[in-house]
Symmetry: C2
Subunit: 566 residues, 2 copies
Amino acid sequence: MPLDDLIDRHRDLLTQARTAIGARTFFSAYPESPSPRVYGETAAGEGTAAYEARLGTEWALPTPGARGQVATERSPFGPELGVRYPRLPADADAVGTLMSAAGAAMPAWRRTGVDGRSAVCLEILARLHERIFELAHAVMHTSGQAFVMAFQAGGAHALDRALEAVAYAYAEQERMPASVEWEKASKRETQRMSKAFHVVPRGVALVVGCNTFPTWNSWPGLFASLATGNAVVVKPHPRAVLPLAITVEVAREVLTERGFDPNLVTLAAEDPADGLAAVLAVRPEVRIVDFTGSSAFGRWLEDNATQAAVFTEKTGLNTVVVDSTDDIDGLTANLAFSLSLYTGQMCTAPQNIYLPRGGIDTDRGRLSFDEFGAALAAAVRDLLADDTRAVEILGGVVSDVVRDRVDATAGRSDLVLASRAIEHPAWPDATVRTPAIVALDAGTAGGSGDAAEYTSECFGPVSFLIGTDSTAESIERLSTTVHQHGAMTASVYSTDPAVLDAVEEAAVDAGVALSVNLTDGVYVNQTSAFSDLHGTGANPAANSCFTDAAFVTPRFRFVATRRHLP
Amino acid sequence: MPLDDLIDRHRDLLTQARTAIGARTFFSAYPESPSPRVYGETAAGEGTAAYEARLGTEWALPTPGARGQVATERSPFGPELGVRYPRLPADADAVGTLMSAAGAAMPAWRRTGVDGRSAVCLEILARLHERIFELAHAVMHTSGQAFVMAFQAGGAHALDRALEAVAYAYAEQERMPASVEWEKASKRETQRMSKAFHVVPRGVALVVGCNTFPTWNSWPGLFASLATGNAVVVKPHPRAVLPLAITVEVAREVLTERGFDPNLVTLAAEDPADGLAAVLAVRPEVRIVDFTGSSAFGRWLEDNATQAAVFTEKTGLNTVVVDSTDDIDGLTANLAFSLSLYTGQMCTAPQNIYLPRGGIDTDRGRLSFDEFGAALAAAVRDLLADDTRAVEILGGVVSDVVRDRVDATAGRSDLVLASRAIEHPAWPDATVRTPAIVALDAGTAGGSGDAAEYTSECFGPVSFLIGTDSTAESIERLSTTVHQHGAMTASVYSTDPAVLDAVEEAAVDAGVALSVNLTDGVYVNQTSAFSDLHGTGANPAANSCFTDAAFVTPRFRFVATRRHLP
């Protein structure tokens, strides 16, 4: 299996990516603009055709142990996808067959070595990049992301995050030399030995995909595990199978071409009633689990899949502290976009916005609590005034649960901004909602206020404008709620350096990343691969992040051999 | 708290250690010879005096939450130590007080930064090195190691392993820049941001010490956690408190001198009936656990301390495959020393020696199974023929359980070598035993042979010479027993390159380090810091190793902050 051509082909990109993870300056390998000037005149049309050709068909991908089929996807924009995937039942026969196949594929992959495995991973990414338009449609019609966002977050940025994981995997695997001569001299004698360090995989890796970001949230773990020598079983969310089915198809195609066992990467599609993830996660063969989803199941995995290294991204209370600003228009515009983008269905979207009940100082004078709320509401309304533009920001509502959650705010007396339904100009059956903002009270020494509401995660387009005694109390709420419930993001607006220092100290202590005075084109819910970490692993919202060394090092071990030299 | 002088003082050593962990060639910072030419004429006597001054006294070290005292140490060489330590009861009041104190100490330590923390750790190591003779006596009279071994393994080599951990901690913490300017240009606009990366500790770290290597096995985790910003609670084995009490004393002395809260490092001595480790390990404040000891409690920690990153070194079936040799004298002498050193009470000492029933080819012609056994037994007898020399290799038997285990082999009909009791010339109450070797059969297709015996760990000076059909079967037993039960070490003797390749493949696949044809002054049960890994984390004997990046990265997180630049 000569891989020299692949290693040569991808050497420069890998070198750049390895440099980028240390430098943390801007780096991106996959253009984020779907423009024909970047991707060519025919790419978009071909991608659409490739996506549409999948609909209503039987997926040809084999999965060891699979029996029967499942078709579980309906687009948040309306249509049923109707793709029939091989179903992996949750019984011991089916799962055992899959585990055996995955395990049998590993030894040859281990022996391939770091350079070869990395090159194969980068070739898979290159092939996925060739299919980025098809993937964007698949992500759009499973997650509900608008097309451009699906192209960027589900395509280009997901590829960057995957490349980042491969670069980290490479860097960590090469920390030990492949071989070394060791010599210890003493007055009696000199001992000389030759020693070799082998990278060995940890075992079968399970990736449990999510509905909202099927590629972006799954690829880092998938490629980190594969690059370090493990076989990967991909268990997609039943409503977001297609993007990961394409991923598995491409991976198997490259592996097969290069003479590897394609069962290094397998698709485990389920009937939702089967609870397959919980069955797979505690199999003794499974030594790595990557999960994005609910806190309840994430905690269950952490507590029960103790035979495995478990990497979870769960949910939390993303927090904004508003103290003062010299750019109220920038503030409200920035925040309005963060609340609206993909209908607030990002794990990084703000939920709890703390503001002194007495209002704040701004470049347009003092604004009362209500005036600030009105300004924020106006900014959201302005952003989403035009339905045709609005749907390209909002996308579709991913599930009935989220839809019901936002619809339940209708008629509340404490609404700062009411949600409205939008009819999608192109997709009449799409479920589209604008964000709702609710005014709450943080509570006082004498009472808990609305803490019961704002200390629970309300995933989707409902955020809370929460009145506090003071910015000091806002900071205290940030600290206690993140310590207890976790958060993926935090941000602060203040013109006072002392306040910024205090919030930074609170955020670092609580273990949440902080964005300061975002009033321009960077949003708190977006991170940039190779520079920003996604999550920290330092609070209950996630036990790991995309991507640092800790995300990679538990996926493999070094095994040494030594012998005397003459 | 200016730490510049400390940082300067230890910069060169840290630089050397950081280079060494990458190079894996020979490196040691602390001389292993207790000779007066190295340590000065008075060091040995002063160390003895310092140790003896401790005996029968009350330990002055304060521990938050402690009530009353415990005195639980009796030397395997005879004397009661009689040191009375503050007792940490296992109740919620006491443990809660300790946790609060440890937690309160962390923020200032976090803010100190990587260079300052590393320098403080290296200063603690320098002070421990100044007390190496005292530590050697403390290790000797708690573990039963003979003095020179206690000086080396419990002193110099333990310091090297601790330095290695600090070097890894430094290297991993500096993977992110402290700050960076990020710029993303697009045709519409250029975004510029300043970003900072903060190292944050994971939480309170618990170190659970063991009886046999109280410093060597505890210091890597202790210093890895401390260097990465965590507070460390040290829970020593009740029979090996003193070496860790001295460690905690020295750490607190340095921390106090530099204005840090000494409760960053605390001693939690227990009444053995309290089961304190299990109580501490599942406290929500405890986010890191380092453990060396029994497989049963190690697995319990892995399964139950799910709120923490758990690093375990448990037990396993250390294996030797004997196929052929061109140096039978070197082979038997090397193996005899490995079986005898510290009475086989090393987690790395060989237990299962597989040999074809038909015998092996050697430089002295064909040796039958029985002839090989006789040669090995003779080598052990020769090594330990002189009682005065023998006790310096054997040391004392660490516990009644180990003594009973070896004494129970007396009179067995399958003995290759009987154990004998030795009267220690200097310590008349010492318990000293020579190794026993028992002949077993691996079993055949028709029966399991003596598998029930050799697939259980028999910690201490009992090893098994196990007859197999062939070397191929020996390799198969290596593979299956290590996969199922784990091993810290494996070794092979063969003159056939194909056999060596097959054993190497089996060892790498099973995830155990392999030593090849050791016939000289390197022993399978010894590893060299900065070059050899101790354990692999890739088989059931341990879920981690001393020391690689995976041992360090889960102990801290990066938390980033970002803001616009003009």
